[in-house]
Symmetry: C2
Subunit: 295 residues, 2 copies
Amino acid sequence: MYIFMADTQALTDYFENPGLVSRNVWQLAEDYAACGIDFEKNCIFIQSMIRALPEIGMYYMNFVTLSRVERNPTVKTELQSKKFARDIPCGFVCYPIFQAADITAFQATDIPVGEDQLPMLEQTNEIVRKFNSMYNTDILKECKIMASSTPRLVGIDGQAKASKSLNNCIFLNDSAQEVANKVMSMYTDPNHIRASDPGRVEGNVVFDYLTAFATDLAEIEDLKAQYRKGGLGDVLIKKRLIAILEEFFGPIRERRAKVDPKLLKEMVFAGTKKANIVADGVLSQIKEAMFLNFR
Amino acid sequence: MYIFMADTQALTDYFENPGLVSRNVWQLAEDYAACGIDFEKNCIFIQSMIRALPEIGMYYMNFVTLSRVERNPTVKTELQSKKFARDIPCGFVCYPIFQAADITAFQATDIPVGEDQLPMLEQTNEIVRKFNSMYNTDILKECKIMASSTPRLVGIDGQAKASKSLNNCIFLNDSAQEVANKVMSMYTDPNHIRASDPGRVEGNVVFDYLTAFATDLAEIEDLKAQYRKGGLGDVLIKKRLIAILEEFFGPIRERRAKVDPKLLKEMVFAGTKKANIVADGVLSQIKEAMFLNFR
């Protein structure tokens, strides 16, 4: 598996604060190690160090019209939001194109992303088909989502997406106390005032998280039934969620404590070296197809 | 001086015909040699082989808004033309940004271009100021035009710009016969029917070319006076222009005949190697300023 720290993509949104972006690179690498991703079996690398990516992205820009990227849901939302309006930077408008470069540079076919990323994969496959057909090649591969059983995790505030930029998520490096505080603040059913009241589990963040993280789903079905009927308090289900999350976070914290920053760096640089070789190989075939193989 | 064959930029307009683009690279290198550009003193290289350029361009995309590039006169004209409409490719919309990368990657300060390129230099300087101020650096240098005495050469059809894509120019590798034919077809004064009629020299392509290429400008002033008064035929001034152009083209043809394609390639690849070193050095400082110096 190829896994990267997407610093150049982060810059399309945070170019005014590049120091934050580069610090997050090492934070994220540590998160990967803490989660138990094996740096020997997988290729973990830093996006901005892969030279083929901007080059491939630049060529793909010829294949995507402005009106097409403006129809991308993520870009569209930003275009309509107050933050950018028409002052949206070209880097942000075009990032779905560069994401296509990220995917195809490794001939990746199965992409483990949340379902909110589906428009990005569609854009990628459009480019793949257009490029392969125009340049009479099969170097680029179509990709598909590897969806998990939880293709989208809601934010702790009940918003559609848990997101770092919205700061409505539990972070992998949160302490036990922070996790507990966040769970206690979670959005439940606003009409569920007393424990004895019947409550709704749909749109109830605590139950969404219980379903996503519990290993014993039968237990969660029981809790849901009780909650619907009435007689199960919010504090009780939140305490249960805290315990379940601790089972999830415990091993992550243990592995994090053992991460050697120096070794981590070395492994990331080794992964980056390998990723450069792979992406350069694909780029070379892309340029061959475009007759840009000067020798 | 750094001089390149702009193949990646050409692709933003001709991505459907990449074979044409790569053939033109060697044609253009031959033109440079034929014109007497010294490949030892100057650095001549192929744009698509310089790895820092797409990378720098991609970072600059964060500094330029979509509305800003849409106001670029060249992009604006294309947006309004029938060719693209809203189906304009992102690569074309953003090429002024990548042109800023081409210029700044070599810290170029004096740019020998036609005056139609002034909006590109303005865009470049905007990026330079914004980048230097945001990242508290002086690595990027502002640039200015090195205008010749003929900042714009009209097309042989009288259109504002002689352009390869409009096919209204005399090519450096045209034969003497082709040059003569093109001059004989030049747009003059449509009201100058008989030689004895008074004629206009303003907007008269033949006089524009006489002014641009003659070494004896006093002679041209005399011809203008005669033409205005009447009594000077179009065929006569065209024949004079053909002779003057032959003085210009003669040495170019002689040098072209001596160009060794193998040696030309070697010199271009040597220039490309040197250009990569220079541009990589600037990129490295750009990334340092953005805290993307992972080590």
